[in-house]
Symmetry: C2
Subunit: 395 residues, 2 copies
């Protein structure tokens, strides 16, 4: 056994982001993920830009290491095949609007009769229970309703949406954790479970100290800009040609920092002697630091701050990130050969495990690329039978 | 077996956020988590505000469902006890600066000899390998270096730090997934592993389509404000008394929306007939919608948009989130009794699994609260022996 999940077979009915992110994480760790798609169009995100030779780079980045199998689930023969496959897999994952699987006659109650060991995982906007359960949702709606926008943004400014679709991604990760935990339990009990993860619940779960602050003070926190709420100095400063983030998290680091920037007198200044004092006298301290930081370039400060042992870093744009020497050393940007477009660049696998290869195994599939393979391996169909299913509109 | 991880014992050496978030997720699903702390002060975050009766509400929210055990790891007898405990647990988790465990003589190479089944998991700023490995990091530094700030913010505005410490939290979640995957593999091989998760790697892994966009276009994406990069209308609009997020993700939803706001003529207007056209003619369309949205209050639009089937939601502040009827229905705000402060409010558990109780089992521990219990249960110490260790400065 090489990959930690290579014994796990996943039937993946998910589309776009939250669900596909979950199954990508499982696939990256070696699970066999069969991506079930509608014939003709497939996952909606196959149509999302940006494109390379008519193939969606967005789809490619989320669906590497998965196989594509098409089934027209409105067709009775297709439903029969689906039910046969359910008996052969460990996990099914879907991110439909709640009720969709039941309408297809393929709800958890039906599937668990076919395979009592099945782990059925659903990621949805609001969850499978509660008054909002049947509402449609997108990442933007959940970021708005979940509170993260209300505490992100410049001080005094507008609530701000987080750039990446973190409401989807968090839901994908929590769903993966629910699946893996249930697999652990199943190895003792022999019985599967339904995992029900709501994007809105996940947002509540990641609000971090904002919830504690609200319950202690009775006030809703507001956007704090780029400055830490209670540590000083802990924010970006302008340099002669850009910006750099400085995070002097304690008195020792503040001392290193003051010596470096040529203001050792600040260390002994009683207004700035402790972090609570630096918070209190922030308006006096900030300009004194800011004046010094303007004297050198970002590149110069980058080196000097590291040498001085002060936690710090540039505010990288995406180009700087994907060419960063640590990012490259950690194999976090990978070249993957795609059958149609040739070489593509994808984000790597952030979970590094001793003795486990962290290379992406294969590129995202073309629609229906593995129809014959899946039907033959799992259900013993011949090539002729597969061709017949294709002609009949089943695949 | 009730909880999915109740067979898993975790020795938790983590402090503050990324590591404690990881072990909280495991504890919430039933793992027995022994939080190892330094005598006297414990986890740094015990000193982080806000406070309730001198107890940190921040610490409480991250350390529920864990037991506290103090060990002075500079003491030889304490190291001996640590090594005995290592033989009895499944997982050890740490989020020290790389090299710290080796300096203590407790690196992975030492521990795996004591317990070949051990899963050793480390979460660090930059990972245990590579040129930046030994640099200190805080969430703010990693958000800056990892690119998320460069694509978050108002259009044309400053790169913006995400309010919650998402660099820490993502790292905690990926670490949990690495641990659970390795537990699955161990059930076949009988052998443990080292899981090495870097906060910076995780940020690369969640940049989503920003990386694809960069490699296709050669340009680094910029902050897009609160508007979706390629769907129109998909952004917040001002109402007569606030704002509301509208996400009409396709032509059908755009039709529902235009009828609702009293501008059915927009549906047939060829400038707005398809999503690509709405993107192209955004500057003409937005004011026409914005004018209508100003005519009713957020509360009125909230109801009307739901009835019309248009994905939408208010931009909730934290008070609105923690009193939202769906959030409460899903048990996402829980009252937990704390031995010192009485009733406290904590975010609930976002992973709902059939047949598994989703209530928090017990409040965060006082420092060293479980010293006697752990030493007795795991290593058979008597009360007298424990008292002696206390006097000797071991605990």
């Amino acid at each position: 056994m090489h990959y930690p999940l290579e014994n796990i077979k996943v039937l993946d009915m998910t589309r776009v982001l939250a669900g596909p992110y979950c199954t990508m994480v499982l696939a990256d760790l070696g699970a066999e993920v069969i991506k079930l798609e509608s014939p003709g169009t497939g996952d909606d995100s196959r149509a999302f830009g940006p494109y390379i030779e008519d193939e969606s780079a967005y789809f490619m980045s989320l669906n590497r290491n998965k196989e594509s199998f098409t089934l027209n689930l409105k067709n009775d023969k297709a439903k029969e095949i689906f039910k046969e496959l359910i008996k052969k897999v460990d996990v099914v994952v879907e991110n439909f609007k709640p009720g969709t699987m039941e309408k297809l006659g393929l709800g958890y109650d039906v599937l668990k009769e076919l395979n009592p060991q099945l782990i059925y995982a659903a990621s949805s906007g609001f969850g499978h229970t509660g008054p909002y359960s049947d509402r449609p949702a997108y990442d933007g709606v959940i970021q708005a309703m979940g509170g993260i926008m209300s505490i992100t943004g410049q001080k005094g400014g507008e609530p701000t949406r987080v750039g990446p679709s973190v409401a989807d991604i968090f839901s994908g990760l929590f769903t993966a954790i629910g699946i893996l935990s249930s697999i652990n339990k199943r190895s003792f009990t022999g019985v599967g479970a339904k995992v029900d993860v709501s994007m809105l619940d996940c947002q509540v779960g990641i609000l971090e100290n904002a919830i504690a602050r609200y319950f202690v003070t009775g006030n809703s926190p507001k956007p704090e800009g780029n400055k830490h709420a209670s540590i000083v100095p802990f924010e970006p400063f302008d340099t002669s040609d850009g910006k750099i983030m400085v995070a002097a998290g304690n008195d020792k680091l503040f001392g290193y920092f003051c010596n470096l920037i040529g203001t050792p007198e600040l260390i002994k200044d009683e207004r700035f002697a402790t972090n609570p004092m630096r918070n209190k006298n922030y308006d006096a301290l900030r300009p004194l630091i800011a004046e010094q930081m303007l004297k050198r370039s970002t590149a110069e400060w980058k080196v000097a701050l590291i040498e001085a042992g002060v936690p710090s870093g540039p505010i990288n744009n995406v180009e700087m990130v994907v060419t960063d020497e640590q990012v490259l050393f950690r194999n976090m940007i990978q070249e993957v050969h795609h059958p149609k477009i040739g070489m593509s660049h994808l984000p790597g696998i952030p979970i590094k495990i001793s003795g486990v290869d962290d290379n992406i195994r294969f590129a995202a599939p073309m629609l229906g690329q593995h129809n014959e393979k899946i039907l033959s391996e799992y259900l013993g169909y011949s090539k002729e039978e597969v061709d017949k299913l294709k002609e009949g509109g089943v695949l």
